[in-house]
Structures are given as C-alpha cells and as structure tokens.
C-alpha cells in the first residue's frame, strides 16, 4: 500500500519534507468538523489536517506499533479514537455515535500540510419530533497543536432548517439550533407531485360525484 510505504518513510525520517515549502500549515493540527442534520440522522465529518511540523507526531500516534507501517487495524484504531472523543447531545440527551468510514490522504499531501484524514461518523437518533431542537457537538480529540473549526452544513432535508450556531472560543463545542417542520413526502412540491396531487383530487371529486349521483338515484327509486 503506497500510503503505508510513504508513511513509513515519514515516520522513519522524522519528516521535515515540506519545511522548505514554507507555504502551508505548519505547527497546527487542524480539526474541521462538519455536522449534517436530517430528520432522523446526524452525520459528522471530521477533516484532520496536520501541519508539516506536527505530521510526525500524528503519524506516530497512528503507527502505534512503531514499525513504520500503518496497518489497517492501526488506521481503524486512530479513526475510532477520534470518534471516541466526539460527543453529541440532542435536547439534553446524549446520542450514540458510530464510526462509518475513514480515508487517509497521500503521504505527500500529508507531509505538505494539506492532506486531510477524513473520518465520517453518524449520530443515531430516534425519529425526531416536529419543532425546535438543540444539538451540541463537542470535539474532545485534543492534542497540544490542535486548532478547531466546527460548522453545520446546509441541510439536504427540506424539513430541517438551521436557526443558529453558537461556538465556544476554540470551536471544540458547537451548538446548533434547528427546527424540524412537518414531514412531507419528498415528491411533494415537485412537478410530478403537483400532477399526482391534481390526479388524486380529480379522482376523489369524481368519486364523490358518483357516490352522490348513486345516492340520489337510490333515494328517487325509494321515493317512487
């Protein structure tokens, strides 16, 4: 695996490849969290970007065996450790978070201070009630070099509307106020939905007319 080989080189050489580049992130470990909310699910994406002066420490934290290779287990363990330090609280109740996927960048990009490890997780929630909610993310994956960003994504689910975002100073905590509106079928409001609705209303009107006609006819016969 190319990433493993290159990481091995970085780990063994102590990594100062890009100090001469003088062009990108250096002594920070940027952790950018993105929160996507829909009616019954919260998705978390964390992009972890070590600067050129912090990448060797990050690689060492991933390569726990110190053998210069990052095994699949070590890659999984690091992603799990990140997710293990995240917490989500919905309306005062903690919700479980599960690791879903993770990607590691090319070692060259990592070394240059622009490669991001992407960790994707999901917060498992019961079907949410309509109305306002408060979701609080806390990123507790701390290293001395870490700087943080935390942002809500524009909901893809039209039933969800973000009302506001509040962050603490370092952005390890993000509180998102949002509203869940009445859940309507996804086709509603589309041209197809309009035609279907018109069709259904027409059928219902014809049905009503037919029933009324039959009822009137029966009454007339009874009257006769």
């Amino acid at each position: 695996m190319r990433f493993r080989r290159a990481l091995a080189v970085l780990a063994l050489t102590g990594m100062p490849l890009a100090s001469s580049v003088s062009a990108h992130r250096v002594d920070e470990y940027l952790q950018a969290a993105q929160v996507s909310i829909d009616r019954n699910r919260v998705a978390l994406d964390v992009y972890l970007t070590p600067g050129t002066a912090t990448v060797s420490a990050v690689v060492a934290a991933i390569d726990r065996s110190g053998d210069g290779h990052v095994s699949a287990d070590e890659a999984h363990a690091y992603a799990s450790a990140v997710v293990g330090r995240l917490s989500l609280v919905l309306d005062g109740t903690p919700i479980p978070i599960v690791l879903q996927t993770y990607d590691y960048p090319s070692a060259e990009a990592l070394a240059a201070g622009v490669g991001s490890i992407r960790v994707r997780a999901a917060g498992l929630v019961e079907r949410m009630a309509e109305g306002e909610h408060l979701l609080v993310l806390h990123n507790g994956f701390w290293t001395p070099e870490s700087v943080y960003l935390a942002n809500a994504m524009l909901p893809r689910d039209s039933a969800v509307a973000i009302l506001g975002q509040e962050r603490d100073g370092p952005q390890t905590r993000l509180a998102i106020r949002y509203r869940l509106d009445g859940v309507v079928p996804s086709w509603f409001g589309t041209p197809r939905g309009v035609w279907l609705t018109l069709g259904a209303v027409s059928i219902a009107l014809v049905g009503l007319w037919y029933r009324r006609t039959i009822t009137t006819t029966v009454r007339r016969r009874e009257a006769c």
């Binding site: 580049v21 062009a23 250096v26 920070e28």
Partner: protein, 365 residues
C-alpha cells in the same frame, strides 16, 4: 374552443419563457478555436497528458499545492515548446477577461518571486512554467468541454456548454501577495480584501454582531477536495444591509465573478444581483487592518471564501520563541492571539448550483 386553446397556448408560452435562463454571450467560438489550435499543436505523447474525457474524475483533483507535490490533470507548461506555450496561454486568455487574465499572471509572478527571492534551499519549480493545462472533452460549439489551468496557488476551471460558461470552482491564492519588485509595490489578491474590509467597516453597531464571528477561522472550508458540499450560510444577510452596503457586497463578489470573460461575468453578476438579498457576508478577524481576516460571501449561486494563512506569521514554526500567547515554544496552537499572515492568502470561488457546469451538462447530453 379556439379562444380557450389560444389563451392556453399563450399562457404556456409565457410560462416557458420565464423558465429559460438568459444565456451569456461568451465567445464560445474563440475559446473553441484556441483550444483546437493548442491541441492540434501537440504530439501524440503530449496529447495524452493534455486531453481527457469530459467526465474524467481527475478533473476534481485540482489543488493548491504545486503539481510536483500533488498529481493532477494536465500537461506542464515546462513540457511545451515556446510556440505551444503561446497557444496554451491563448486558451487561457480566450476564457478569461483581461482583468482575470491579469490576475492569473499576477499570481504566477508572485509564485516566481517566491521561488526566486524568498525561498531558501530546494523545493518545487515555481513561476509560469510550473502550471498545468488540461482540456476535458472535445472543444465544441454545443457539447460540454472545459479548461483547467492548475498549479501552486491557482486552480482555474472554466466549463463551456454551447454559449454558456461557468468559472467554478476556482482557487485564487498568493504568497507573497504584496511585495516589492523593481522599486514598485506589487499587490495580488489584496485589493479584494480591501473591498471586503470597506464593507465590514461600514456596518453599524447593530449589524456587526450579525456579520462578525467571534471565533478565529483557521482555513477555508470548501477548498480543494470539497466538491458538492454546502455549508450553512452565516453572517449578515443582504436584505439586512443598506442599499450602499449591498453595492459593496456586490463589489466583493465582482472581484471573483469578473475573472471569467466579460459577457459571462455580466450575466453572472446580474444573477448575483438578483439574489443579493439572500446573500450572506461573514467576517472573522481584525476589522481595522487589511488582510488579517477571513471572510465569506455566500448566496444561492455563489460562494467566496478568503482565508489568510497562519503559516510563517507570528505563532508559526519560523517564529518559535516568540512571546507568550504567540504559540512559541511552550505555547499552544489554539491561541486566539495567533496572527494571520496577510501576505499569504487562499481564496475559493464556487457556484453551488453550477460547479463544473453541472446545471447545463445533463441538458446538453
């Protein structure tokens, strides 16, 4: 019956007319001819590096890094003859406005200055020949095709579908963005920040809390590798600005929109103007000094993020040993007092509704 039919036909025509988007009148033929001339001048080996299928996923690998550090599409200008370089430059010129072309040239010159003057030791090739040009699809008057010009601190993507063009996503960046050369001060991507600074300084005490984030923003959010993502808009909305402030907001947007050819830019600015009430402006950082703040313009069909970098500024490795609270030895990185470097900026321009011409591509196939 006839009257009703005619009335319905009239209503249908009006409705259909309202659905048709005005087409920018960019000179598609000029760009097509320039791209054909460039491709026609390449040998077969060069052609395989310069031409890709329109939908080739390598298109999304444009990056801020130098090509030697992160592979991507295209043939390097260093691998072209002077005559071929002229033709490649003509392709770029054909899809950009004079303003946009000058901006690209200024970014390349800053990169050259960085390599020649600022950098010590090895590294990567810099300057105009260190950039890559790729053509996706076959240059055509109707089928979709695109031009990508990419290298350190620059990623231009122009997609052309018939008479329509879009400049998104595009990365503009510079380091240094202000420097002295031949006794003259050269400014790259600083005037844009000046427009935004003017806007933030015009905000009233009531407006400022809406527009200004209390937190430090360390980087842009939707740079390379973030295609298809949309962040929740934040900041002050155009509808909450005065008419003069909305003009300033449009002025900021124009600094990026006007990179593309003038007809396309005019149509795009009209679109941005129509949705200015729903366009947000967010600021994070110093409101008194040029270039020491992140800002974001986000509307239904536009995103601009401008992000000074912390690298090489106080608090970075080069300044270790600096005073307390500056991230020097023993300091912490996550220090709100860390300064941003106003001479090293990254900016990204996107069109959420039409990155890579996605809006037109389906219809053209």
């Amino acid at each position: 019956v006839w009257l009703v039919s005619v009335a319905w036909a009239g209503l249908a025509a009006v409705w259909l007319g309202a659905q048709v988007r005005p087409e920018p009148a960019g000179s598609a033929a000029g760009a097509m001819t320039a791209a054909q001339a460039f491709l026609g001048a390449l040998d077969s080996g060069q052609l395989t590096r310069a031409r890709y299928a329109f939908g080739d996923p390598v298109k999304s690998r444009w990056h801020n890094l130098p090509p030697t550090m992160q592979s991507r599409a295209g043939i390097g200008f260093a691998d072209l003859t002077p005559a071929q370089r002229e033709l490649g430059t003509a392709v770029l010129r054909s899809v950009l406005s004079p303003y946009g072309f000058a901006k690209v040239q200024a970014i390349l010159a800053a990169d050259q200055y960085f390599g020649d003057v600022m950098r010590t030791g090895g590294g990567f090739p810099t300057g105009p020949n260190a950039y890559m040009l790729a053509i996706f699809g076959t240059p055509s008057a109707s089928a979709p095709w695109s031009v990508q010009f990419n290298g350190h601190h620059l990623g231009v993507n122009v997609t052309i579908v018939g008479r329509n063009r879009v400049l998104a996503p595009t990365l503009t960046a510079a380091y240094p963005n202000i420097y002295q050369k031949d006794g003259k001060e050269i400014v790259v991507l600083a005037e844009e920040a000046g427009r935004a600074l003017k806007l933030v300084q015009s905000l009233t005490e009531t407006q400022r809390p809406q527009a200004i984030l209390r937190n430090q923003t360390w980087d842009f959010l939707l740079g390379p590798g973030h295609d298809g993502e949309i962040i929740q808009p934040e900041g002050i909305r155009g509808s909450e600005m005065t008419a003069a402030q909305r003009e300033m907001l449009l002025d900021v947007a124009a600094a990026w929109v006007n990179i593309v050819d003038e007809d396309t830019a005019r149509a795009k600015m009209a679109e941005v103007r129509r949705s200015v009430a729903d366009t947000y402006f967010l600021w994070s950082g110093d409101t008194t000094v040029l270039g020491k703040a992140y800002f974001r313009v986000q509307g239904p069909a536009i995103l601009i993020e401008y992000s000074p970098q912390t690298v090489n500024g106080p608090g970075s490795v080069g300044f270790r040993g600096g005073g307390p609270g500056r991230g020097g030895a023993g300091g912490v990185a996550n220090d709100p007092n860390r300064a941003l470097d106003p001479t090293h900026v990254h900016a990204v321009y996107r069109d959420f509704t039409n990155d890579y011409g996605s809006q037109w591509v389906g219809a053209a196939r």
